[in-house]
């Protein structure tokens, strides 16, 4: 076990113990801690202090290797965690001093709380927080969870040290209950928000170690809540005896410790959002796709399911007073029957690779390689343009899939990877012919090809809050030593990408160079190197990309199609000039072709569009992961 992890965990647990005991022994009817509790708290704080100091020392020792500097505590203080642990040491010293010498237990409670806040700020979610809101949510979650644990421990201590006759722990429980319920609601709400970032998808929740641990943790929390509910009903004067209530409390403490065990495992497990998902089921719930595949069948089965549910409900309503047991059985049967009928109707076939992320990014190199592989291995059946009309297919009267239709993008990339590897219908598998990377390149080309046909719906005005078309990344040389990628602007600002395939279109580029200064967008111009030399740099700091072999323009020409010029059979792949508006999250939002009207927007219109786009909130969608 990593000593740092153990020390951190021990310090947190000791502080929670100390805080819990101090809190419950200093609330009514005991306004001052008893001597025995007092000594125990002092011992716990001293132990937490030792853990913090050992943590500082051990981390500084391990940092020697990373910094080439000799061992010193100063090394540790140069880190984010080091500064917080040092602050915790000061807080713990203050807590000990105020408890032992100043005899001010309220001050001890306050500084202990500050030390616990430090634990919340050193968590990995807090460290990875991208905004103040995220930091606040993660800190609140960890701090409240520690307070809940402290409270349960304190209550348990109070129950242990008070007999049934005096029953003083009931008063402490009443005090604890007033803030426990809103506190737990906040813990759950902040937990959901954190899980949204770390799990990212339902598939991640079901099919990754992180997701399964999280589900287990939630089950423990649910168990603890049941115990808390029983204690609450006891407080309100139910039939429950004092001994039973103590058993519920001990159970809640056990479950609280189990929750912390889960939390500790979670903290050292790869978050589901970054893990490879191996889907364990042969189906997945996708109602929209199921409906698209078989609209009539899906509607029929849904209707049967709804009917079963309604019959069950009606029977329960009719017999709930006279035949209670039978009515309940009828309701359960109806609901179960509804689920059994509707779940298959809203599910589609899935494979172990369904949620796998591509190992090859959607970039020019991958799309170009994929195109070459398509010509070599797929074209004979799927046809020159992917329409499913290859000579081999016609000869053998086969009907391979039309790869230009929208259904290509309805499937996950992982589904395509499975079919490509293991075959589908009459298509053989290519696992022995193509490497894993080659299969992903091929999928990237298929995706770009299909998206290209969808790109016909792109207009010259971006639809607000509707990103769907990922940009195709490319790498270029900035100067003799530095390289850049288009994707490097993601998260920073938008990109205005211009392709010039005819020399007479350079005038538009000159206008942009002159007038795009101060835009919240980076101007990137891709053209032949010899034409770019003629351009005089204007006030706008544009990036000029020499595309000597035309591979960037070729890959991006997938996105040339419009409803006016659908170009289904690749009659004209090179438009004289194309301009693309790429938002700051890497999605193509608008396009202008030089042979369509309007062939370009005025500078003022462009400025207005970019200003509007810059007001859009952060885009969080699975598509980002797919195209990253």
């Amino acid at each position: 076990m990593d000593p740092i992890i153990a020390l951190r965990g021990a310090q947190t647990a000791l502080m929670a113990f100390a805080f819990g005991l101090l809190w419950t022994t200093s609330t009514p009817p005991f306004n001052t801690p008893k001597l025995s509790a007092h000594r125990l708290v002092a011992w716990l704080i001293s132990s937490a202090l030792c853990c913090a100091l050992l943590r500082l020392g051990y981390t500084a020792w391990t940092l020697q290797d990373l910094s080439n500097e000799p061992f010193s505590l100063g090394l540790m203080v140069q880190t984010h965690v080091g500064q917080i642990v040092l602050a915790q040491v000061v807080c713990l010293l203050l807590a000990l001093t105020s408890l032992m010498w100043l005899r001010n237990h309220k001050l001890s409670v306050c500084v202990l709380l500050l030390a616990m806040l430090g634990s919340a700020l050193t968590g990995h979610v807090a460290a990875a927080a991208e905004s103040w809101v995220q930091l606040l949510v993660s800190s609140l979650h960890v701090l409240l969870a520690q307070l809940w644990l402290s409270g349960v421990i304190g209550l348990w201590w109070r129950a242990k040290t008070s007999d049934a006759a005096t029953n003083t722990w009931r008063l402490t429980l009443a005090h604890f209950s007033t803030w426990a319920l809103p506190g737990m609601l906040l813990i759950l709400a902040s937990g959901v928000s954190l899980a949204n970032d770390t799990v990212a998808s339902w598939a991640g929740l079901v099919a990754t170690p992180y997701g399964l641990l999280l589900v287990l943790k939630l089950m423990m929390v649910a168990g603890a809540l049941v115990c808390a509910w029983q204690l609450r009903t006891w407080l309100r004067g139910s039939q429950t005896s004092d001994a039973q209530a103590r058993t519920w409390l001990t159970s809640e403490l056990g479950l609280a410790l189990a929750v912390l065990l889960m939390a500790s495992w979670l903290a050292s497990t790869i978050p589901a959002a970054h893990d490879t998902i191996v889907w364990p089921f042969s189906f997945r719930w996708a109602p929209v796709l199921a409906w698209q595949q078989d609209p009539t069948g899906t509607v029929q089965q849904l209707a049967w399911g709804a009917a079963a549910g309604v019959v069950g409900l009606m029977l329960w309503l009719l017999g709930r007073h006279t035949f209670r047991l039978l009515a309940r059985v009828a309701l359960c049967t109806g609901v179960l029957a509804a689920l059994v009928v509707t779940l298959p109707a809203t599910s589609i076939t899935a494979y172990p690779t369904t949620y796998m992320h591509s190992s090859a990014r959607l970039d020019v190199v991958s799309v170009t390689a994929g195109h070459a592989l398509y010509e070599q291995h797929c074209q004979s059946c799927h046809g020159l343009h992917g329409h499913g009309d290859g000579p081999l297919a016609i000869l053998n009267q086969m009907k391979p899939a039309n790869l230009t239709e929208p259904h290509v993008n309805w499937h996950t990339h992982g589904d395509m990877f499975w079919w490509l590897s293991h075959g589908k219908g009459l298509m053989p598998g290519f696992a022995d012919v193509l490497t894993v990377d080659e299969r992903w390149h091929l999928i990237n080309w298929l995706v770009a090809q299909s998206l290209g046909h969808e790109a016909r719906s792109l207009t010259n005005t971006p639809a607000p809050f509707n990103p769907w078309l990922p940009s195709i990344d490319f790498r270029f040389q900035m100067d003799t030593t530095n390289f850049m990628s288009l994707s490097e602007w993601r998260g920073l600002h938008a990109v205005h990408l211009v392709f010039v395939n005819q020399k007479n279109e350079l005038q538009r580029v000159r206008d942009l160079l002159q007038d795009m200064k101060g835009f919240p967008a980076q101007l990137v111009i891709v053209s032949r190197p010899e034409w770019l030399k003629d351009l005089v740099k204007g006030p706008c700091e544009a990036i000029l990309v020499g595309d000597s072999e035309g591979v960037i323009a070729q890959a991006w020409s997938n996105y040339r199609r419009s409803f006016a010029v659908p170009d289904l059979f690749n009659e004209e792949t090179r438009v004289p000039r194309m301009e693309f508006l790429i938002d700051r999250y890497g999605f193509v939002r608008a396009r202008w072709r030089s042979d369509e009207s309007p062939s370009a927007l005025s500078i003022n219109e462009l400025k207005q569009i970019y200003d509007t786009l810059s007001l859009e909130g952060k885009i969080k969608s699975a598509a980002i992961h797919q195209h990253d």
Binding site: M1, D2, I4, I5, A6, R8, G9, A10, T12, A13, L14, F17, S36, L40, T59, T62, L63, D65, L66, S67, Q78, T79, H80, V81, G82, V85, S119, T122, G123, H124, A126, A127, A128, V142, I153, W156, W157, K160, L257, A258, L260, L261, S264, W265, A267, S268, T269, I270, P271, H274, S359, A360, D437, T481, N482, F483, S485, E488, G491, L492
Partner: protein, 120 residues
Amino acid sequence: MVTVLRWLSVCLACLPSWVGAHAHLLHTEPPANAVIGQSPQQLRLKFSEPIEKKFVRIKVIANAQPLPVNAENIQWDAVTLTLLVNLPTHVANNYEVQWSVLAKDGHASRGQFVFKVKTP
């Protein structure tokens, strides 16, 4: 007191890694195990969470010879969580990159990846 200590020891055993996550290397440029066309001028290592820029160690071995990489050649892009490593001009065809970083949560992690250049 004995009961409390017993519970405490259970609790400590239950809490081995309260906040002990690692900075995971998500992907690299050039990608691990890739075969690329020319010797890279720059390496990119994208991590899952922020790291301490001061505590980064990168060792690049090209054709069994270590390339000189010092702190000035290493940049940290906090927005994209990417470590940029500028390499000196060189020609080689077998590369091994060994990396060690300290995550912002104080946890050190390390790893290595290899890639090849088709025509040195």
